[in-house]
């Protein structure tokens, strides 16, 4: 239960960071959180948010696809780098 509260608070904090901090710093934070938490699906939300807020065209898939693939790769390799 504590973990859920932590993730909700982190979600709000990361959302604020997302609007204020440089994009590369946000990506580093998201990479860390994706590795730290099991199935950190919020990363897909934030990846999509990069496209929604900042992309210059009508729509883009980059943020969504990259975050989804990264989450998948981390989930597959999790048993090897976390006990």
């Amino acid at each position: 239960m504590n973990n859920i509260y932590l993730r909700i608070i982190l979600f709000l904090v990361i959302y604020l960071f997302f609007l204020v901090l440089p994009w590369w710093l946000n990506i580093l934070i998201l990479i860390f959180l994706t590795i730290y938490f099991k199935y950190y699906f919020e990363v897909v939300f934030f990846g999509s948010l990069f496209d929604i807020i900042y992309f210059g065209g009508e729509y883009s898939y980059y943020g969504f696809i990259v975050s989804l693939v990264f989450l998948g790769v981390v989930s597959l390799f999790r048993p090897y780098f976390r006990s």
Binding site: F41, I52, I53, F55, G56, F64, G72, S75
Partner: protein, 264 residues
């Protein structure tokens, strides 16, 4: 004899992952269909945060001024006053030339005066990973897709790439990989600039092409708007080409305001 009991593999995990991915893809399809709605919503929610964070960072930046010595400030003030006087004179001359230029164009039936509105930059790199800017003017203010965006009267920096009701997304010409035609002011030759990010461009030209340091590159239209000037030419390589590097004048990333054309 003792044998280790093999732990039973949890076969539910791949199934769970598959279901979750299907759900995520479903959400993605929904989000693609409602992309502009979400964009509009997130921009509306983000603009106050961006303005507030800019206010805070500007306030924090000015704290350092407290420790500036009084003598230095007086000297700096005098220098700036002199510079203002000089710039005011230049502005008057410039205004006369602009007027004369427009009159000449209208005599030839090519009056191309476009209305511009001033807009505030609410978000700019390094926040954006795509080298885009977000401005606080949108459809409501007469901004259209592909409207040119200026940093000053005659320096063009990019184009509006998406317009919402109250905000717009501006793609800079210097965005990585963005291709933009430009006219060399001195010779009239047309080149295709390739954006390199951070207000820089490059072009690869045959070694005998007539370009020199400081040459101006203009946006191809009746109004001569500057895109950038050549600051370095690398012709040292053995190949038949030389790399030409161009930088946009003025620093759009330090600017707070931009001008956007509102009529076609």
């Amino acid at each position: 004899m003792n044998y280790h009991l093999k732990s039973k593999k949890n076969n539910n995990n791949p199934k769970k992952i598959f279901i979750v991915f299907v759900v995520v893809i479903f959400i993605f399809i929904i989000y693609q269909l409602t992309f502009s709605f979400f964009r509009s919503l997130s921009h509306r929610a983000s603009v106050p945060v961006w303005i507030f964070s800019d206010y805070i960072s500007n306030s924090l930046a000015s704290i350092g001024n407290i420790f500036e010595s009084k003598e230095n400030l007086i000297v700096e003030n005098e220098v700036l006053k002199e510079e203002i006087k000089k710039l005011k004179l230049e502005q008057i001359e410039y205004g006369v030339l602009i007027k004369e230029n427009q009159e000449l164009k209208s005599l030839f039936g090519r009056s191309n005066l476009k209305d511009k509105i001033i807009t505030r930059i609410v978000s700019k790199p390094p926040r954006s990973p795509y080298d885009t800017l977000i401005i606080d003017a949108g459809r409501r203010d007469g901004v259209k897709n592909d409207s040119l965006v200026y940093i000053s009267n005659n320096i063009v920096v990019g184009k509006v790439s998406d317009v919402l009701e109250t905000t717009s997304v501006v793609t800079l010409f210097s965005t990585g990989g963005y291709k933009q035609e430009a006219l060399l002011e001195r010779t009239g030759a047309v080149f295709e600039l390739i954006g390199k990010g951070n207000a820089n461009f490059s072009i690869e030209l045959p070694k005998d092409t007539d370009v020199i340091w400081g040459d101006l590159l203009l946006y191809p239209s009746v109004n001569s708007s500057i895109i950038g000037n050549i600051y370095y030419i690398d012709s040292s390589s053995q190949s038949a080409f030389k790399a030409v590097f161009i930088r946009a004048p003025g620093n759009v990333f330090e600017s707070k305001w931009l001008f956007v054309e509102t009529n076609e």
